[in-house]
């Protein structure tokens, strides 16, 4: 690597000019990115707000041609809540405990380093591939599409994200807290449960909720596990409705009224994610 910063008047002018141009390009690129992303979000917010209505939360879908068409998304909102709830039952404990292990127990051990690496890699596995796992493990044995398989796929996606988020949040707790607790004679478990976790409660909860919200926004893992349904159900043994699959079907379908339903519903998801991002920022800012 050669660095030639030697100076002649002409060369200096050229270099300063080049530098100025590149500076402008960097600023321009950033502005361009923000502009594109603002266009995307702005568009979704504007059409979403226009189509938002109460029926979305209170009614089930009504087919075209029937009175009250297009109805609402109540079945899908309940469906997503149940799916995410079921997957949280498995995903949250495993994810949280793994996060605690990575942050609090031998953080650099022969187990922790590969676990951290695998968790990162798992977080990058395409969600459509995870759907096949759910299909093979729970749809094939049961013989039909069902909510359990959808929850399994979601839990699989949730665990690595929750684990790494929890680890990051616990690491923000100053180590003097742990030292103080241990100096006072607390056991390891007591230190973690009584001192470290309470000190990080806010950030862990919001971080984990953000992870859960991102899972709630997943569509691909549900396509051929829970499949989706136009009917209200709370029985996970049946094909199970979810907000995202419903949005996908409506948005790609032919009916304008259903498209506006999809727009309103996607805005709901975006808004949820925005709020959670905001609160994560609030909690992590105090510590950095």
């Amino acid at each position: 690597m050669t660095m030639d910063f030697s100076h002649t008047p002409a060369r200096g002018r050229r270099r300063r000019f080049q530098s100025g141009v590149m500076f402008a390009i960097c600023v321009g690129f950033t502005a361009f990115i923000l502009l594109i992303l603002a266009l995307v979000v702005g568009y979704l917010v504007s059409i979403g707000l226009r189509s938002m209505n109460w029926a979305m939360f209170t009614q089930n879908p009504i087919p075209p041609g029937m009175k009250g068409y297009p109805g609402g998304m109540a079945h899908a909102i309940v469906g997503t809540t149940i799916l995410v709830g079921l997957s949280s039952l498995v995903g949250l404990p495993v994810g949280l405990l793994t996060g605690i292990y990575l942050a609090e127990y031998d953080a650099m051990s022969r187990l922790a380093t590969p676990v951290r690496f695998i968790a990162d890699v798992l977080a990058g596995v395409p969600s459509i591939v995870v759907a096949i796992l759910g299909y093979e493990l729970l749809v094939v044995p049961l013989g039909h599409y069902n909510g359990w398989a959808g929850s399994l796929a979601l839990a699989f996606i949730m665990i690595p994200i929750v684990a790494r988020t929890t680890e990051e949040m616990l690491r923000l707790v100053p180590s003097s807290y742990r030292e103080a607790a241990i100096a006072l004679g607390a056991t390891k478990a007591r230190t973690i449960l009584g001192i470290v976790l309470p000190a990080a409660t806010g950030s862990v909860i919001t971080g984990v909720m953000l992870a859960v919200a991102r899972v709630a926004g997943e569509t691909a893992p549900l396509l051929f596990t829970a499949l989706g349904s136009r009917f209200f159900t709370v029985n996970p043994n049946e094909p199970f409705p979810s907000l995202t699959v419903q949005i996908f079907n409506y948005a790609t379908g032919p009916y304008p009224a259903q498209k506006s339903e999809a727009w309103a519903a996607i805005l709901l998801l975006i808004f949820l994610i925005f709020l959670l991002n905001l609160s994560v920022r609030y909690f992590t800012r105090q510590r950095r």
Partner: protein, 378 residues
């Protein structure tokens, strides 16, 4: 000290007080030493067990996929990767004789032959590679520019909000980008950009082929510009991977030692020249950031499915409808009726998994330790 800092200290003291009072009480002292019902033991093993579950998850995923794809792997072998005919259903077609005319039976009716289904993954592998490449070409320069902006230019007051925007956009569901692509980008491409490009490029010799496609009969016909094509898929993917590449390369650049920067400036480097040294210094981390973007682009499903046009044939033009591995799975898996079809789809998923694992492993090993703050969760 800021009020939040004070609050934190206060909380700290409260907790230490709490810990003290627990330790001081006699029962508490016993509890602390013995850990009640031996909570220490329980928590430690529960945490370790969970960590091991995470390790096993990847193994289970690989084994299940491999097992289910095995019939297809056995049946098609290597041909699966290099043949370009994806036809899940039987095809009835007239038998063509040596003279190029349909063969007739005694009654004068055209004889029909039935061609068995055929599964070749090349079109979707091609679709994934091309759409991800378009995405990278669009996103990488923009993201690096924005990362340099955040690290070297932006005033402190701006770094927070811009970083927040970028992190928020990384978390927006891909369905949202798909809807935007479907209702805004595709109509724009169809109505404005593509006709314009066609007007300009179809008169340049050597480029007009981009607007024509070859039919099975060998005839060349103009491609109907629908806006739902490879280009749309690539552009939507590009927009979706902007946040992640920007965020990771920002962290990588931020970790360049200050002395490195000061040294170049002391030698008389201009702003840009010192930036170049910075980029060179962190090139492996930046490569990791690009690989992370690539991994995400290759595995992204919903947005691509909505805009790429879903046609499982290889077309040279980016203005033709295409299909990526993930969109093929999204479109066909739930409707697959034969075991053969399903196994073939699972083999596609296995290829996708291996590809994305490779990208991720390379990326993570390059990025880990190169950033001030880990890039997890993006």
């Amino acid at each position: 000290m800021s009020s939040s800092g004070k609050r934190l200290l206060q909380a700290n003291e409260d907790q230490v007080d709490a810990a003290k009072s627990v330790a001081n009480s006699e029962a508490g002292a016993v509890r602390l030493r013995q850990g009640g019902f031996n909570g220490d033991f329980v928590l430690s093993y529960a945490a370790r067990a969970s960590a091991i579950i995470v390790l096993l998850m990847l193994a289970v995923l690989m084994i299940v996929l491999f097992h289910s794809a095995l019939p297809s792997i056995k049946l098609f072998g290597w041909r699966f990767l290099v043949t370009s005919d994806w036809r899940p259903n039987e095809l009835d077609r007239p038998i063509v004789g040596a003279d190029g005319k349909p063969v007739l039976d005694e009654d004068g009716a055209v004889q029909i032959e039935t061609v068995p289904p055929s599964f070749g993954a090349l079109p979707v592998i091609f679709g994934t590679i091309v759409s991800s490449s378009i995405a990278l070409v669009c996103a990488v320069p923009l993201s690096f520019g924005a990362a340099l902006f955040l690290v070297r230019i932006a005033p402190r007051a701006l770094v927070g909000p811009v970083s927040f925007m970028i992190e928020f956009l990384a978390a927006v569901p891909s369905l949202a980008y798909g809807i935007w692509g479907l209702f805004v980008l595709c109509p724009f491409l169809q109505g404005h950009l593509e006709p314009l490009l066609k007007q300009v490029f179809s008169h340049i010799p050597g480029l007009s082929w981009m607007f024509y496609q070859r039919l099975e009969s060998g005839r060349w016909v103009p491609i109907a510009l629908t806006g739902r094509d490879m280009l749309a898929g690539g552009l939507v993917l590009g927009i979706m991977i902007l946040p992640i590449i920007t965020a990771v390369s920002r962290d990588v650049l931020r970790a360049v030692p200050r002395t490195q920067l000061e040294a170049t400036v002391a030698l008389g480097a201009t702003w840009w020249e010192s930036c170049v040294e910075m980029l060179k210094y962190s090139r492996s981390g930046l490569f990791g950031a690009v690989m992370l973007g690539l991994a995400r682009a290759a595995g992204e499903t919903m947005a691509v499915t909505m805009v790429i046009g879903n046609n499982s044939q290889i077309k040279a033009s980016i203005f033709a409808a295409a299909q990526s591995m993930s969109s093929l799975l999204a479109n066909e898996f739930a409707e697959a009726t034969t075991d053969e079809h399903r196994a073939a789809l699972i083999e596609v998923a296995l290829i996708l998994l291996i590809m994305s694992l490779a990208f991720n492993v390379v990326a993570r090993s390059l990025v880990v330790g190169k950033t001030a703050r880990s890039a997890a969760g993006h």
